[in-house]
Symmetry: C2
Subunit: 330 residues, 2 copies
């Protein structure tokens, strides 16, 4: 019987949803507004809407369940989403119960951190597919991370593993949003990187970025940096090399600790490709134990937004498999 | 049938060896010189000597095998020790084959990194016993590390996981022996810490450390620092607090990445107890994501030298168990 699941990527502004075939990937997808300011009930209603919009495409008995990737913490049972940032008034909600009640179903419903979902998507449908073990880092508003070991998410004791964004590369450095000094997010989080780029580019008034973003550079985006670098803009190339160096420093620490030597990079600024990844690779080699150089690789995730939806759906396939395995005693 | 194994802790200057009962711990122990300068054959002979000195204490059929903890790299099969520092002329030697030939036995023989062995010793006989998951850090000549997940060593893709010593806390900081800038070993490795202490204490000529180590402080040891702090010496207390802060910075990064919130600290300077561990604990809390504070603990390993021997022996018990499990299909 063909296996399908709905993957939901719950973001601050939109919910990206896909009907995913286990083997073939995305069959149908849609997007609805999160409406985060309207509170938890509204957001759950939007999740329900997305599921209802997708499940009609295949016979109900082929649907194995629903996976949800979300920002914030998730309990170890992977049913309850705890205080997702940006959703007003959401403390602890058992999303499995809430969606089952709304949809009047008993599908398997699994909730996980959005960084873990994106890494699972990469592991089974994206750049991570050739590797059993890799480190995923997602460069967006913040810096997200996840660890894949044996094609599964390594979750740690309480399920919060992979918080690369808060790892420090300078114990006396600038603070990230959580107040951690020298955390990599305080360099590569979107607001921090844009602000660094603005300062850096003030020395380059001839930069093509001025033409793109205006003299204030207030709207400087990762895509603009990537495009300007591609167009040969020295300032943009320097900013991306600076960012790549910082990224390589923290990834070096990750590789030293985990001995997982493959890194997959996703998120907006990863569009800059080699302009950021090659400086990162060079820094990694300088920040790891010399005996660990063999096999080091840093790759760009090209699935983009789809990684989160695919990985959320895969949470269901993986969950079903682990239950079957448990029943078989393997 | 009672289960025994010989645990060998192969150090640069001495081999510490114990006959270990699986449930009761060390039954007999002995120590022989490594004679590292006399080359691999001599060292293998010393290992043989230690085994022969111990196995006579119980009937041969009760001996399950020999475990070896050693500095340097070990292959994924855990049979071959690769370029251990300080042993002249040792490139790659299959220690299992070499010891089986010398002892004319077919015992199970397992080789692992000494930091991994110490962590296993802690997990099954020491401070780590109450915890399924913990991070072990050993502060000695260098800074060693290991990760215990589900009471087993997490080894990473190629078996080298746990290289905490090379993780950076300042991308522009001082270099460790391997050339990594800001690596924690460049602060807490014995030579680096002594040198920092010397500089720091030059401002405290009234320090009791002068009386202990002489005006040059050339022989300043971790034990002296601990004793001086215990005696109320301000300079020593400050140096240990400085060291604890640095330790907490790198452990914060480890906890962010792994979500393993218990840390066991071994090695010479851990004798300083709360003088180093309390500043480390405070720094950890400042360098981890605020949502991860719950359950953070940092403990001192009190097994001392015994951790390495016990853990080396446990490699054998664990190996035997995993073989039995595989045969049973579980």
């Amino acid at each position: 019987m063909p296996a399908y699941a709905v993957g939901l990527d719950l973001g601050a502004t939109s919910i990206k949803a896909a009907l995913v075939a286990r083997d073939a990937g995305i069959v149908e997808s849609m997007q609805v507004d999160t409406g985060a300011r309207r509170g938890p009930d509204h957001v759950l209603g939007q999740l329900e809407l997305a599921v209802r919009g997708l499940v009609g495409h295949v016979p109900t008995e082929h649907i194995q369940g629903i996976g949800v990737g979300a920002p914030g913490s998730v309990d170890l049972d992977r049913t309850t989403l705890i205080r997702p940032p940006n959703i007003h008034g959401w403390d602890r909600i058992n999303v499995r119960q809430a969606l089952r009640a709304r949809l009047d179903c008993d599908w398997s419903i699994v909730v996980d951190n959005d960084a873990n979902a994106a890494a699972l998507g990469s592991a089974h449908y994206g750049a991570g597919r050739p590797y059993d073990d890799f480190i995923m880092v997602t460069l967006g508003t913040g810096v997200g991370g996840a660890i894949i070991v044996g094609n599964k998410v390594f979750r740690g004791t309480k399920g919060a593993a992979g918080e690369i964004g808060h790892m420090t590369i300078d114990y006396a450095g600038p603070q990230d949003r959580a107040g951690v000094a020298g955390a990599i997010e305080a360099y590569l989080g979107q607001r921090f990187l844009s602000s660094h780029a603005r300062r850096r580019l003030d020395a380059h008034p001839d930069s093509v970025l001025y033409a793109m973003a205006g003299a204030e550079l207030a709207l400087l985006t990762p895509a603009m940096l990537a495009a300007a670098a591609e167009a040969g803009d020295t300032g943009a190339v320097e900013v991306l090399a600076w960012a790549g160096h910082k990224l390589g420093c923290v990834l070096g620490s990750c590789i030293n600790l985990l001995d997982i030597r493959v890194v997959v990079v996703g998120g907006g600024i990863s569009q800059a490709g080699a302009f950021i990844l090659e400086p990162a690779r060079q820094a990694i080699l300088r920040y790891i134990k010399p005996g660990m150089h063999d096999g080091v690789a840093i790759l760009r995730e090209t699935l983009g937004n789809e990684a989160g939806m695919l990985g959320a759906a895969y949470l269901v396939f993986e969950h079903a498999h682990s239950h079957v395995s448990a029943a078989r005693g393997t």
